[in-house]
Amino acid sequence: MTKTVSFITENFDKYDPNSIDSYLNINGFTAVRKAITTLSSGEIINIAKSATIKGRGGAAYDTGRKWGQAAAVQGDNKVVICNADEGEPCTFKDRSILSKDPFRLIEGMIIAGYTVGAQNGYIYLREEYRHLKSLIKNAIKETMEKGFLGKNILGTNFSFHIHLHSGAGAYVCGEGSTLIESIEGKSGRPRIKPPYIKECGLFQLPTLVNNVETLAAVTAFIQNGTDDYIKYGTKLSPGTKIISLAGNVNKPGTYEIPFGITLREIIYDIGGGVVDNNKLKLCQLGGASGTIGSDSILDTPYTYEDLEKVGLIVGSGGILVVDDRTRVIDFVKSIQDFFIHESCGKCTPCREGNRQIAKIIDRFVQGTSGVNDLDTAERFANIMKNCSFCGLGETAQNVLLSAIKIFPDEFKRLEAVGK
C-alpha cells in the first residue's frame, strides 16, 4: 500500500506542462473561473482558513490569515510575489511543482491577486532553476492568450499581470524583504521592519509573498473543495505536505504525504530505507536551517505539533537522511560552510558569529579543540539566534545547537582528542 497521496500534486504527469490546451483538458483554470466569477475575496480567505494551511516556505504562517491581512491593507495598487527561490539545501519540491504543474501555480497567483486586490504578480525564480525559465515564460504567455491573465479577466473588472524575475544565486534572497530588494535590482540584504512588506513592499507597494506550494495548494482548494484535503492529517495538522526526501535513502524524491504518518514510514516505506541497509545516524528536517534528530525520533508522527515536541520542524519540508558513515561534526561543518557562504554580512552577530563558530568547528574536525571551545560555540550560537537581523542568522545555528544536545558524546570524544 502506498502511503503517499495526491491532492496538491494531483496533476503531476497528467498533462503536458508546455501546453495550456493539455491543462484545460484536465479541468485547468476551473479554479480561476470559479474564484473570480463566483466567489468574493472574503469567501476565498475563508476557504484558505478552513483548510488551515500554513505557509510552505518555511515560516509556517497561517495562509488564510495572511491573505486576510493583505486584503485589509488600503491601496488600489498591490503586488503578489511567488517565492520560487527554493535555496534551502535538501529542498526541491517547488522545482517539481514548477516543472510538472506550472499552470496550477499561475492559477494560485491569479487567485491570490484577485483576493487581496493586486494588479501585478512576480515570480522570483532562483538562477539555479534557469532551465525552467522558458517553460514558465511559455505558461504565462499561453495563459495570457487564453484570457486568464491581462486586462478584464473573463469579462470582469479584475486585471492581473505576471512577471518573471530571476535570482542570481543568493540563499538570503528567499527572505521576503530581501527578495524584494533583489527584484528592485539591488544586492540582497534584508530590510528593517517595520514597515512590514504587507504594507510597504515591492516598489513601496503593499505586497503579499507566498511560497510556490502554498499558491498551488490554494488552487487545489478552490478547484476541489477542502473536504478532500482535511480528511487527511491530524486535528492540529490537517491535510498534506509535499516533502523533499534525500540523502542516504534508497528512493529520494518529491512526495506528497498526509500529515500524521511517522518518520519511519516516510524513510522506510516511502523512501525504501537507508542505502545498503546502513544504520541511520541522524535526520535533518526543514533544510539546512532545520534541527536534527537521532534515530530515536523515527516513530514521531510528521505533524507540526509532534515534531515540535522533539525539537524538530516541518519548515520547507526537506527530510535529509544521514547514515552512520558521516560523523556528526563533519555534518555540522558542512552546514556551517553553507551559512558562512550565504551570510549577507549586514549584521554583526551573523557575519562574525558564523566566522568564529566555524573556526571552533574546524578545530573539532581536526581534533585540536580546547577545553572551552564547546561552551564558547554554544554561547555564540545563542547570541546569533537571539540577536541576528534576519531569519538566516537566527536559524543558522539550529544544527550546532541540536547536535550538541543530541550527540554530546561526539563532541566530548573529539574534545578529548585535542587535549
Binding site: 527554493e86 539545501p89 526541491f92 535590482g185 539591488k186 540523502g247 563533519d330 553553507f338
Partner: protein, 173 residues
Amino acid sequence: MNSTKTKSFEVLTKDLACKIDTIINNFGSNSTRLVGILLDIQDIIPKQYIPREVATYVSEKMNIPLSKVYDVISFYGALCDIPRADYVIQLCDSVVCKVTGNSFLQDTITTLLGIKENESTSDGKYWIESTPCFGACDISPAMRINGKVYGHLTTSESVKAVLDKYNEGSVMV
C-alpha cells in the same frame, strides 16, 4: 594558447556593445532589472564573466553608478568578475551531496581535467568551481555544466560519460 585571448583588452567590441544594448532594451532599460540584465550579458560574453569595461559600459548606458553595478556583481554568486571558461563546471558542495559522496566526484573531475577549483584548463575550455545546493539533491551527488544539471555521479564512468559529451562537442552551449 587560447588563454591569452581572455586577457585581451578589446573585450568590448562593437558587436558585443550592440548585443548589450539589445539586452538592456529588452529590459526596458529599467534599473530595477539590473540583476537580470547582468545575468543575460554574462551569458553572451566569452569565458562567462563581466569584464570591467562591460560593467562601466552598463553603468554609463543605464545611468547607474559603477559602485552600484559592482555591488550587484560582487554580491551574487551567479555573477563573476574574472574570466572563467567556455564551460563552467559547478560542483555542489552542500550537505546532501556531501553525505552521498561528492568528494569522489570532486576528485574525479579535478584529476580528469588536471585543474583545481577556481582554475581553468590551459585551452580555456573548462573551469571548476564549487557551489551551494542547486536543488538537485534527489540525484546527488550532482554538478552543473553551463547550467545543465547532471546527477548520480558516483562512478568514474558516469563522470567521464558526461565530460565526453563536451569533449566531442555534442552538447552546445
